[in-house]
């Protein structure tokens, strides 16, 4: 190829020039072509996924409610217009109801119920008429009656847009809260920042105490009761949630370790240097491909039919899928072992089992352990998803909370716990990986 005579030198340079030109052209094609292809693909997907339609369907209201609910809660003050009974309940839930005749300090119960929404906004439930004093606007009066719907009186002028009035219903939304009046009931919402009753519910004697007071009580021998009230908080169900987290980790642990235990002996049958029979090797490799290819989703469906809903089913689904993954990874690791060590062990008169134990395993353990631990962390995430399908662990709690579409603060709580759980497992697996592999290196 290279120039040997001076005559061919010119043409060689020309050829080189042409080659460079072509190279540059190709580079240019790639430099513009690849981004253009990606862009074209994204445009295609934009329409294939119907993004314009999605933007119309997207509910900004849902998003707002979701975001607001994650960091705030509301207290409902409800009057039944038929018998005049007034109830105060946090989030309107039975579990958050104040005992009859009691309420927070901003609600004054009596013949007239006076609700101070703060900032000068005051709602009064009179015997007949409900009035809302909005600062800077005036007093709005509404009188529900059986026959004529809700009779309403407004200050002079046009109705502002934060008032929604019709014959049978009045709804007022201000920055301080909400009032809605129908024929059957009148309801006021006041919003507060934070997660309500996170530590103690209203029926606990420790509700409303400061941290110092609770600590003081704890040192005076009430620690057990305090813990009990917190742990069995009906609103947040801390004990159930912790159990669910544990169940998710359990699924990941059993699935990963079980898969490793099953895959290790089989991996020998799929490794070139341990299974001389080609058909055996081929068979086991296809088995691994099959287990991996069927995928956790299909295994979950099949296993749910056989074993019912629960954590065991989830663990088995992870076990089956990962037996395939581990089988492949382990057999590759086994193919890379150094024969010399095995020969050395053999020369001392070791039996086959001993040869595997002292010649092979020490070589592959670091690789295998690091892969198993890596999978343990990633399976914690899978177990969350599989749990949502098989009905076990935190995945189930999360889907249930999302389906009810109102307890977004609980959803946030679960998400925070899930993220912490995964980060924790990541940390544990990283630490074990470093420690086990290092000590193993030193040991051999």
């Amino acid at each position: 190829m290279s120039a040997t005579s001076t005559n061919t030198k010119m043409t060689d340079t020309d050829a080189l020039m042409a080659q460079t030109e072509r190279l540059f052209q190709r580079k240019r094609m790639v430099a513009f072509g690849v981004p253009a292809l990606i862009l074209a693909y994204l445009v295609y997907v934009f329409f294939a996924f119907d993004v314009p339609g999605l933007m119309q369907r997207a509910s900004a209201e849902n998003a707002r409610a979701l975001v607001a609910d994650t960091y705030s809660y509301k207290v409902h003050v409800t009057r039944d217009n038929r018998d005049g009974a007034v109830e105060v309940a946090i989030e309107g839930e039975r579990k958050g109801e104040y005992p009859e005749g009691e309420g927070p300090e901003w609600v004054e119960l009596g013949r007239d119920t006076v609700i101070d929404l703060g900032g000068g906004h005051v709602v009064i439930f009179g015997p007949e008429t409900i009035s809302y004093d909005v600062p800077g606007y005036g007093v709005i009066r509404a009188t529900p009656s059986r026959s004529q719907g809700v009779m309403q009186e407004f200050p002079e002028g046009d109705l502002p847009e934060w008032i929604n009035a019709s014959k049978n219903r009045l709804a007022i939304t201000t920055e301080a809260g909400r009032l809605s009046v129908t024929r059957n009931r009148a309801e006021v919402f006041r919003y507060f920042t934070g997660w309500e009753l996170f530590f103690f519910t209203l029926d606990s004697p420790y509700h409303g105490m400061s941290v110092g007071q609770v600590l003081g009580r704890a040192f005076n021998g009430e620690a057990g009761e305090i813990w009990d009230d917190f742990w069995h908080n009906e609103m947040w169900r801390h004990s159930d949630v912790m159990w669910a987290i544990f169940e998710t980790i359990l699924m990941a642990f059993l699935g990963t370790m079980g898969a490793a235990i099953v895959a290790l002996p089989i991996a020998f049958m799929a490794a070139k240097n341990f299974a001389p029979l080609k058909t055996v090797r081929f068979g086991f490799r296809r088995l691994f491909d099959f287990l991996r290819g069927v995928d956790a989703l299909i295994w979950t469906i099949i296993l749910t039919r056989a074993f019912g809903l629960g954590p065991l089913t989830g663990a088995l689904a992870i076990l089956l899928t990962d037996t395939g993954s581990f089988g492949k990874l382990f057999s590759e690791a086994l193919e890379n072992v150094d024969e010399k060590q095995i020969e050395g062990v053999q020369s001392t008169g070791a039996k086959p089992v001993q040869r595997y134990r002292f010649g092979v395993l020490p070589q592959v353990t670091p690789v295998l352990l690091s892969q198993v631990l890596y999978y343990l962390e990633s399976n914690t995430r899978s177990a969350t998803i599989i749990g949502a399908i098989t009905g076990g662990g935190i995945g189930l709690l999360l889907t249930q909370a999302i389906i009810t579409q109102k307890d977004w603060e609980e959803v946030t709580y679960y998400i925070v716990l899930i993220v912490l759980m995964v980060i924790f497992m990541d940390w544990v697996s990283g630490m074990l990986r470093r420690r086990l592999i290092q000590s193993d290196d030193a040991g051999h």
Binding site: V294, L309, G310
Partner: protein, 295 residues
């Protein structure tokens, strides 16, 4: 050991041997205890999981093949309709693959930026390296299902929530792998580029990307493989694609098992196909680089 030292200074070998044997037996004891604890954990874990389960392990083993058997039997009975089902569900399959592809693409692009910003020596803002690392840790830790379910509530069902959810997780997962690759990149081309006044983005594009692109691509392909599975499973919880169709078919129960079987087959074939494709191209990427290095 005390005996050995008392018997005089001469038998050093037996002294050493005794120490060695003591260490070995201690080591064996520790390994034995570790193994025992591990076995106990596994056994008690399985029993606990079984206790909390709807059905028992032994009872389940008996009818393990019942459901696959029914599905296969019905599929064989209606074998003639399978090709028609393949055609019917092909758009759903395409959607599942598209979700995986777009999310891998978007996630990988985000991962490139995040990884460059969080590698020491390359970062645009060296002080913010820990911040970007924590961001990646958090995006990596959020399971796809969490974001998918929330977005389904806000945006309604369909492929986009799944796509965003998977892309989010991919950005963190790939970002970590990419930044490990970046750490091995040579800084010399960067210095050269800097000396001629190249901006940060030019230095990255011309100095770092050519060095690390093959490894990036290889990791992205591996992620694509994982994301196909993720996209199928998210469909099952309401995010469109083949998973969604599969859920409908199996909740109908008997009578539509032929459709379920068709979808099982399609999913299986797709996963195997992309598995093989990705490992083939990854091999070539790594192999190709080796050839260049020889030159």
């Amino acid at each position: 050991m005390a005996d050995v030292t008392q018997s005089g200074g001469a038998p050093r070998l037996s002294d050493m041997q005794a120490t060695y044997m003591a260490q070995v037996s201690k080591r064996r004891l520790y390994s034995g205890i570790t193994l025992l604890v591990f076995i106990l954990l596994m056994v008690s874990g399985f029993r606990l999981a079984e206790e909390r389960n709807g059905g028992s392990f032994i009872g389940g083993l008996d009818n393990f093949f019942d459901y696959p058997g029914e599905v296969v039997a019905e599929a064989v009975e209606k074998a003639g309709e399978l090709p028609a089902h393949f055609v019917t569900f092909f758009p759903a399959l395409l959607e599942t693959v598209n979700i995986a592809a777009v999310s891998t693409l978007v996630g990988a692009l985000a991962a490139v930026v995040l990884s460059l910003l969080s590698t020491r020596g390359l970062a645009r803002f060296p002080r913010l390296v820990p911040v970007f690392r924590r961001i990646m840790d958090i995006t990596r830790a959020v399971p796809e299902i969490v974001i998918a379910l929330i977005l389904i509530f806000v945006l309604g069902g369909g492929p986009v929530p799944a796509m965003i959810a998977i892309a989010f997780h991919t950005a963190g997962a790939l970002g970590k792998l990419f930044s490990e690759v970046n750490e091995n990149a040579s800084l010399k081309p960067l210095e050269g580029l800097e000396s001629v006044g190249a901006t940060w983005s030019q230095r990255m594009m011309l100095g770092v990307v050519p060095q690390v692109a093959p490894n990036w691509l290889s990791y992205a392909l591996m992620r694509f493989e994982i994301n196909i599975r993720a996209s199928a499973i998210l469909g099952f919880v309401g995010a469109g694609g083949l998973g969604y169709e599969l859920k409908n078919a199996i909740s109908w129960g008997q009578g539509r098992y032929d459709e379920a079987a068709a979808m099982f087959l399609m999913l299986f074939a797709t996963i195997i196909l992309f598995d093989q494709l990705s490992s083939h191209f990854r091999d070539r990427l790594v192999h190709g680089r080796k050839v260049e290095m020889h030159r």
